[in-house]
């Protein structure tokens, strides 16, 4: 099972890794996709920054798990 970035097609082994990639890349096209799913990029970042546990990644990973899975 792998997860393809909906923007640049980068392959990740897990949705959490893909979330890390998308937030980490942070350029306009990746941010636009994140916005299109109802998230505010800056809020995800703030979630990440303010607490341990990778909460911002986890929130995005939930969506990515459903939408970007590839056999």
């Amino acid at each position: 099972m792998s997860y393809h970035c909906p923007v640049c097609k980068k392959i990740s082994p897990a949705p959490l890794d893909l979330a890390r990639h998308m937030i980490g890349r942070g350029d306009k096209v990746h941010r636009d996709w994140i916005y299109s799913k109802g998230f505010k990029y800056s809020e995800l970042l703030l979630l990440q920054i303010k607490s341990f546990g990778g909460e911002g990644f986890k929130a995005l990973a939930e969506v990515l798990e459903k939408e970007t899975k590839v056999e």
Binding site: I23, G26, I49, F52, G53, G54, F57
Partner: protein, 758 residues
């Protein structure tokens, strides 16, 4: 007896005689016929729009030959990040906006420095001052002014590293600590400030003499920023008075001198003054650290989580790499089964932060080694035991990141523990603290997208047996010319004095990424070794024919004698074979070529150095003032190539890293650096230097030339952490913010007194 003839011997530094006799010519000493002098006008505002720049009065001033502003540029933004264009964000000469006090807006070339300085005062810049933000924790809020268009929360870059299952692992821990630390800034304090002489001629060729850590980078960055071809730009690196990470990006002196020279076809020299050096170049990255560490009762470390917010200043510079490396080295030098790092770099309206000796590792070592002692204390475990239990060992894989081949950490622990035992019981208010570390030995980063090998070298053997060694490596005072000459001499079997090295001139030397990331001994060293071996092979072909040896015999050269390895008495003179080879090849020059690029060596480096340092302090409990009495280091650098060089590097590292731990800082007020002068900037001076000792460790790095790895930058990592731990041992107070000033110690002691009374 050593199996080597040359490496490991004590030799005079190449160029050392020139330096101690005052004959060495640095960029600032070079004067060309008809040369003009340049000065740079800088922003007085931390954040402002440029509405208009009027240079007319300056242009009319007698003695002024040229004035340039952002309008004279081709409008590109510079940065080493050619693979990540969004990170190239610095115009150098700002066109529409300034983002820190010190941003360059115009430059003047005149017949002398005073005229150029006066002309700057005649340039009128109309600004619209904008709200500014200086603290990274404020910069990442929704309310903060946006410093670069489209960058949300002013977060310039973020970096993440993770392996294992951190959340599950914390649940299994017997003890968890959460701590916060703040790491301050630091100036590079090179003896030689940034400077350049640019000479553009009527044939369209540009030659730049400059103080730099990478001639090749500067050549290509100038090409990008000036719209020229690489081959039309020659960058020459004369003697250089230090770099420490501050001189491998294109700077305002190099760019403005080149732009001015291109405009008027005359050589232009720009030398930054010390105040510009303090306020308008780059600096060490300040960092806010949030650490969570979990362990079993017996001291086994199960999980670590690290969050870092760094003060980036106005531009990306090399800060993105510092952000990544501080995360990577936060796991060093231990085997964490579960690890998570989240790092964020915030733009602020302050001087950009960037690479500085250690590249993020001194920060992570200070916080990590402090917290490790704290958790050991909580668990009642000896600091050596917890390090031994969890320390890296040879052939360890850092999941998804790195493969450690040689690792002498445990030998280092043994040596330092024995050293401390020898010291015996200490008098009151004295303490010895330890800090362990690891560091890369050549950074595997190709942000620059170079198509060349990371290092390359050419060896030319002359008719008299003397050897010319050409390398793009940059000698910046760290001794790379000496180290590379030793490697070349050893491989060729000639004397050290037979080597004449030509380095860091893009006109005659092969490309090399330069002196950063502790890469020259290993990477340039491998290239030199390969080039020498190539030249040697050509000699051996003739030697074998002349000796008529059986094919089963291998030949080698030692002390000018080419001989059968198994029958060393049977051989032929190196000089005779050199002559025979050149004659036999119809006069063709003997040239050996070598190159090195790491492949399949992980994300960071092909090899890692390790070590542990013990710092001894004596604290005056009345005032908080303390003295750093000694620093003893066991450093694993593989096979030692240049022992005198290591001693010099160690002393320099203690001075710089001790300063970082003890006193160096660059406080600001509304974006203005408050101590931009040597008189105000506190650092460890010669009279404050502690006794420094190095304990030898015997290891061999398979990836390094003759088994060698780095022995310079890594040494700057442990000192701040060792000082912090030593103060705790001496008087029982823990300081979590750098620098650990006497004032902070005094306040902590008072706080401790209050608590004890309660």
């Amino acid at each position: 007896m050593s199996k080597y003839s040359v490496i490991g011997t004590r030799v005079n530094m190449v160029g050392g005689t020139d330096k101690v006799t005052g004959n060495a010519k640095y960029t600032t000493d070079i004067n060309l016929p008809g040369m003009l002098y340049g000065k740079i006008l800088r922003s007085p505002h931390p954040h402002a729009k440029i509405l208009k720049i009027d240079t007319s009065k300056a242009e009319k001033m007698v003695g002024v030959k040229a004035v340039v502003t952002g309008k004279d540029t081709i409008g590109k933004k510079q940065g080493i990040w050619r693979r990540f264009p969004e990170l190239c964000d610095e115009e150098i000469l700002c066109r529409t906006k300034v983002r820190y006090i010190g941003d360059a807006v115009a430059s003047v070339a005149a017949v002398d420095e005073d005229t150029a300085e006066e002309a700057l005062e005649l340039i009128k810049v109309d600004y619209e001052v904008l709200p500014a933000v200086f603290d990274p924790m404020e910069a990442i809020t929704e309310e903060a002014p946006q410093i670069h268009e489209g960058v949300e929360l002013n977060i310039n870059v973020n970096r993440h590293i993770e392996w294992g299952n951190v959340d599950d692992a914390f649940k299994k821990c017997d003890h968890i600590r959460e701590d916060q630390f703040v790491c301050s800034s630091q100036a590079h304090m090179c003896m030689e400030t940034h400077c350049a002489i640019a000479s553009f001629d009527y044939n369209g060729k540009l030659t730049v003499w400059t103080s730099t850590q990478s001639s090749y980078y500067i050549q290509v960055l100038l090409m990008d920023m000036l719209g020229m071809r690489e081959g039309d730009i020659r960058v020459i690196n004369p003697y250089t008075g230090g770099g420490f990470g501050s001189k491998f990006e294109l700077d305002s002196a190099q760019f403005c001198a080149s732009l001015l020279s291109k405009k008027i076809c005359k050589p232009v020299k720009i030398v930054l003054n010390r105040m510009e050096e303090f306020t308008a170049t780059k600096r060490r990255t300040p960092m806010y650290y949030f650490l969570k560490l979990g362990a079993k009762k017996d001291g086994t470390l199960l999980a670590k989580e690290v969050r870092v917010i760094t003060e980036g200043g106005a531009y990306t510079a090399m800060g993105a790499t510092a952000l990544y490396l501080t995360g990577f080295f936060s796991s060093f030098p231990y085997k964490y089964p579960n690890y998570r790092y989240d790092g964020y770099r915030a733009y602020t309206n302050t001087q950009p932060s960037s690479a500085m000796r250690g590249f993020g590792a001194p920060q992570s070592t200070f916080v990590g080694e402090s917290q490790l002692d704290m958790i050991a204390d909580d668990l009642g475990i000896d600091p050596f035991e917890i390090r031994r239990k969890n320390g890296m060992t040879p052939d360890y894989v850092v999941p998804g990141q790195a493969f450690i081949q040689s690792c002498g950490l445990h030998q280092c622990l043994d040596k330092i523990e024995a050293h401390i035992k020898e010291r015996g019981k200490l008098p009151p208010n004295r303490g010895i603290g330890i800090a362990a570390y690891g560091f890369m030995s050549g950074g595997i980063f190709n942000w620059f997208d170079t198509p060349y090998a990371f290092s390359a070298a050419i060896v030319k053997i002359n008719i008299d047996g003397k050897v010319d060694l050409f390398t793009g490596a940059n000698e910046i005072g760290q001794g790379s010319d000496t180290t590379l000459s030793l490697i070349c001499a050893e491989e060729l079997g000639v004397n050290f004095d037979d080597i004449r090295i030509h380095s860091a001139d893009t006109g005659i030397c092969p490309a090399d990424l330069g002196a950063w990331g502790s890469r020259q001994t290993l990477m340039s060293g491998n290239a030199v070794k390969m080039a020498a071996a190539d030249a040697k092979r050509q000699l051996m072909e003739f030697a074998a024919a002349k000796l008529g040896v059986n094919i089963v015999y291998d030949l080698d050269i030692k002390d000018g004698w080419i001989h059968l390895i198994d029958r060393p008495e049977r051989g032929v003179s190196y000089l005779d074979i050199v002559k025979a080879t050149i004659r036999g090849k119809d006069g063709e020059t003997i040239i050996g070529r070598g190159h090195y690029t790491p492949h399949r060596k992980g994300m960071i480096s092909p090899a890692y150095s390790f070590g542990i340092q013990a710092a001894e302090v004596e604290v005056d409990p009345e005032t908080g003032k303390y003295k750093l009495l000694s620093a003893t280091t066991a450093h694993d650098s593989g096979q030692v190539i240049n022992p005198v060089g290591i001693e010099g590097q160690l002393e320099g590292a203690i001075m710089m890293a001790g300063g970082y731990g003890y006193c160096e800082d660059q406080p600001t007020e509304n974006g203005r650096v408050l101590n931009p002068a040597i008189g105000d900037y506190q650092l460890i001076r010669s009279l404050d230097m502690p006794e420094t000792n190095i304990l030898e460790i015997d290891t061999y790095e398979p990836e390094g030339p003759f088994g060698a790895k780095e022995a310079g930058e890594g040494l700057t990592n442990p000192t701040a952490g060792a000082i912090g731990n030593a103060i705790y041992k001496a008087v029982g107070v823990r300081i979590n913010t750098l620098p650990i000033t006497p004032e902070k110690v005094f306040r902590a002691l008072k706080e401790k007194e209050k608590k004890e009374k309660k």
